[in-house]
Symmetry: C2
Subunit: 296 residues, 2 copies
């Protein structure tokens, strides 16, 4: 997986926390690590606390691709959540090390079969794709910034990847359609074989040529910090697919469910604090509850 | 069921329609009629088109409780939907005949076992409850107006009913809690044995002492007019419960699913136009798709 590692400042209605381990790459890798070994590609500055690297390594995440750029600072994101915890305002973004991020993958990384590209600029995502010609499943995320400002590059990316994961607001922005069912299929027709629309507390939708479905979020009473939920979702999903070694429709639907559960744990505390406390068996236990919830 | 029958004016992003058959009682009764015989209690003015009564009767809905108030006009509601079709502004409300609505139930109505009280003032809902002492399942809806202005009466109602159905925004307003899982259980602790929170396009949540679950909406690409979706949900749910003659946890969950599907048909056209075109078998066919969607 290729993406950002960050230091976050997060303000929720009840608490304010600073210098948290964050970024798409951290959440994705940690969630995926319950299912498969992960190779992480990112860049940080020399202010990066080494214990964060150790935390990732403790879950068998390969950090050989985590480049420290001398003299640079680590990417910083600061955001404030609304009362309902489903919307947030970004207060500040300092790209820092990520601005100079030009991933050159280590040789052994280039043989990966399952590749996830977090929401970096589409041109950069394409550069990474070109370094992994043998990948059998390539999935990307994107964001409003690139939908608005790098539309052509994004369209080129969509023609080259197998799956796209994006938020509901981004799907509406990309297609100009407020009906998510139509929007999902419209994006699929731009290239990817499947599209996943993440709806935050309302779950996630899946679109392929022959399938349209929605899975609800796991209802947790304990939403402390939603930061990283979407990246954890993608990590759980891709991690399970890599573990299974295929992406048949059946496997994809189970992967959607595992992604949903990974996200449900992440939001129960700040940063990776909740994920740090669970084992694969906790995910499986929640999976049994989730299946039961959807059985009637 | 006791509720309002109305003439609606509805504006969606693509179309404006006037004088549509609407109101909670119309949608509820029509949706419930696929499962059980329905007895409707409401009031209209002498401008009420008789063909609307005939339409309801054509589905075996007993309209003996539909009172025509001479000299009065029928309840009128006018609303405009936002681009995403999940929010709307009420442009105008003229209670008219509903202002004088003081339901005195016909004798044979008072022996009903399954009673649904649409979102009328809680004092009126309690009056109806008192007329049906033999009801084995009583479920009510409510709305922001009564949460704000008739709080004590509403709390009294909550102590007397078996189930409450309300919107997500109303659940947040009633409890002051933006987390719907906590809000649902908090409302349950005010009296009802179960609570259903309707989330529009995002589905519905169920809360009882031992259960918490969410079912997603059926994903339809064809959302024409969401008016009446919540009432159709309640109608499908209560209709199925009445058909089954019990409200065991298993039956309740299936009822939630039937409510979800009834709503999914309603939104596919204005007024009752889509429901008018379907048979029970169409609901069953969609149920098979819905079950498959949630199986992994």
């Amino acid at each position: 997986m290729v993406g950002a590692v960050a230091l976050d400042s997060v303000e929720t209605p009840s608490e304010k926390r600073e210098n948290l381990l964050g970024g798409s790459a951290s959440y994705f890798s940690y969630a995926a690590s319950y299912f498969t070994s992960v190779r992480l590609v990112s860049a940080v500055g020399d202010d990066w606390p080494h214990e964060h690297t150790e935390l990732l390594q403790s879950r068998n995440i390969d950090t050989a691709g985590l480049k420290v750029i001398p003299g640079a600072k680590t990417f910083r994101w600061s955001g404030k959540y609304h009362a309902d915890m489903n919307d947030r305002d970004t207060l500040d973004v300092q790209l820092n090390a990520m601005e100079q991020f030009d991933p050159v993958l280590p040789e052994e990384y280039r043989r990966c079969r399952f590749l996830f590209l977090a929401n970096d600029p589409p041109g950069l995502q394409i550069k990474v794709l070109q370094q992994c010609p043998g990948a059998t499943l390539t999935v990307a995320d994107t964001m409003d910034l690139y939908i608005n400002n790098q539309h052509d590059e994004l369209l080129e990316l969509l023609g080259r990847i197998d799956g796209l994961v994006l938020n509901d607001s981004e799907a509406k922005l990309l297609t100009g359609d407020d009906n998510l069912v139509r929007a999902g299929h419209a994006i699929r027709e731009l290239g990817p074989r499947f599209v996943v629309i993440k709806k935050g507390e309302h779950g996630a939708m899946f679109f392929s040529r022959h399938e349209t479905y929605v899975l609800p979020a796991f209802p947790t009473p304990n939403v402390v910090d939603p930061t990283g939920a979407g990246d954890s979702f993608a990590g759980g999903m891709m991690g399970y697919l890599a573990e299974q070694g295929n992406f048949e429709p059946k496997t994809l639907k189970k992967a959607m469910a595992y992604g949903t559960l990974a996200a449900s744990f992440t939001v129960e505390d700040f940063s990776l604090d909740r994920l740090e406390k669970i084992e694969r068996e906790d995910i499986e236990q929640r999976m049994r509850k989730y299946r039961q919830m959807l059985t009637f």
